[in-house]
Amino acid sequence: MSEKVLIKGNEAVAEAAIASGCRHFFGYPITPQSELAAYLARRMPKVGGVYLQAESEVAAINMVYGASAAGVRCMTSSSSPGISLKSEGLSYLAGCDLPAVVVNVQRGGPGLGGIQPSQADYFQATRGGGHGDYHIIVLAPGGVQEMFSYTCKAFDLADQYRMTVMVLTDGILGQMMEATSMTVNSEQATANSEKPWAVGGVRTGRARNIVNSLYLKPSELEETNLARYEKYKLVEDAEQAHDSYLLDDAEIVVAAYGASARIAKNAVDEARNRGVKAGLLRPVTLWPFPKKAFLEASKHARAFVSVEMSMGQMIEDIELAIRCSRPVSLCSRVGGMVPDPAKILQAIISASQEATA
């Protein structure tokens, strides 16, 4: 008998939160994310958890702020316009060094945009979203199975580094259904790690904890920023993650994450059939960006192609990672349109011809 279930990406994120010991979810509906909230509304009460539909996205992120300060695993989710509303909260969470998991099921923008899939929030996510010097960890699942496993990982990373971890996905991966195993590995059983910094009422005679991002002395505020960036260095060193396909001898490296990577993989196969040595480098962490993998690939690559459902955002990180040592071209569709393999194949062939010329 199969142990798998047929599940939507949005639902898989919800199940992953429960599997990771998250019992506090603060939601607000928006397409194409709404199944996630609807699913947890049904599931949370059955596992003794709290599902709370906030009055707005701003309220939801501030509930995460409070719940996280109290030391529990918590999550909120939205789609692009809602994440913009949550951005102030992301900055406060960073300023207080609080762990949180935030899910963005991206849709077309800017403004209200549309409800179809997009990856146009790359800059917003990888640059943190809100004001001030800070980072969040950004994970980009490539399928429904990874929607589950990387959401589990997000909770672990959030606690480990006391940071917000964003699961950055899109309307395709959120809405599509795939056979998925919901087995949790042992590492994910660390749901209730000690949080000596949390505010939970002083019962043991310890000194009181304060969770706060306000520092009126500039020297003190500078100190907190410097300390935080020491932590970010550790994250950049330890947590870069990527996946690759036919990359070892690739002369044309196709870079894509999330749903775009699935489509790009088909184009890479087709390019190989036509004698072009193409390979796929799929960033799994968007921050920290997998710079080491890109630098390594640039040793044998003649050119890079960034496939995005955005107007050229990740392409800048690729150029930075390889220090502009190779040409990087863009292949994109936006506004809810999805790149098709034929267009990507054409971009690969063009990149190959230009690199030869």
Partner: protein, 219 residues
């Protein structure tokens, strides 16, 4: 073996109602001149029968659908012509309803006419969907749907599958599950539905072998 007259498909979110509605409409059209597919989904703006409107047009099937279906405007609107499926006795109609009790609310509007017209109202089930994986949970969802839509189901379509990974074994493993639901609800299993590419042994039930209709095929 296909239902006559009006066939309604309702069930849990993501159980495969639109897929089966599409299949049934196309099968009915092979046998009958007048076939209508009526989309009453007021829940899902992403996957709709309207996604396949060219297919229906080519097959000569009349599609009744909210003008907002597939337009990305999230208005849970009713197609004004929906009531017409009850008016012409020569028409074979398939009604595709939105998921869960929230989706079934739309049917309440036609509860009297469905009852009087002797419609086949089919519960679509999939053992591999996480919230309806046990017969008890599936039966609970069924009762919520009936209450919201003010109707009673007349049969079950066992659509248990794992998407592209489905094996004949998965389909067979879900037969006892469907039979348990059938007993709990006192409803007959009308059919087992599966992708036509699957080779199934005798299950004891009629098999609906379906072409699969997918969005984003390049994935």
């Amino acid at each position: 073996m296909l239902p006559n007259g009006i066939t309604v498909l309702a069930g849990h979110y993501g159980s495969g109602k639109t897929q089966i509605a599409t299949h049934l409409a196309l099968e009915l059209r092979k046998r009958h001149a007048k076939v209508t597919l009526c989309d009453l989904d007021i829940v899902n703006p992403y996957f709709r029968t309207a996604d396949s409107k060219d297919l229906f047009e080519a097959a000569g099937i009349r599609l009744i659908s909210s003008p907002y279906a597939g337009s990305n405007v999230e208005l849970p609107g009713f197609p004004p012509e929906a009531a017409s499926v009850f008016d012409d006795p020569e028409v074979f109609s398939v009604i595709d309803v939105g998921g869960d009790d929230r989706g079934a609310l739309a049917l309440g509007r036609y509860a009297d006419r469905l009852r009087d017209g002797g419609a086949a109202i089919l519960l679509v089930i999939n053992r591999y969907r996480p919230l309806s994986g046990s017969a008890r949970d599936a039966a609970d969802i069924c009762r919520e749907i009936e209450e919201a839509g003010r109707f009673r189901f007349t049969g079950i379509v066992n659509n248990s599958n794992l998407g592209a990974e489905t094996t004949p074994r998965d389909v067979l493993a879900a037969i006892p599950y469907a039979e348990e639901i059938s007993q709990k609800l006192s409803l007959p299993i009308v059919a087992v539905s599966a992708a036509k590419t699957l080779t199934l042994p005798e299950t004891g039930y009629p098999v609906w072998k379906m072409e699969l209709y997918r969005k984003w095929v390049s994935l």
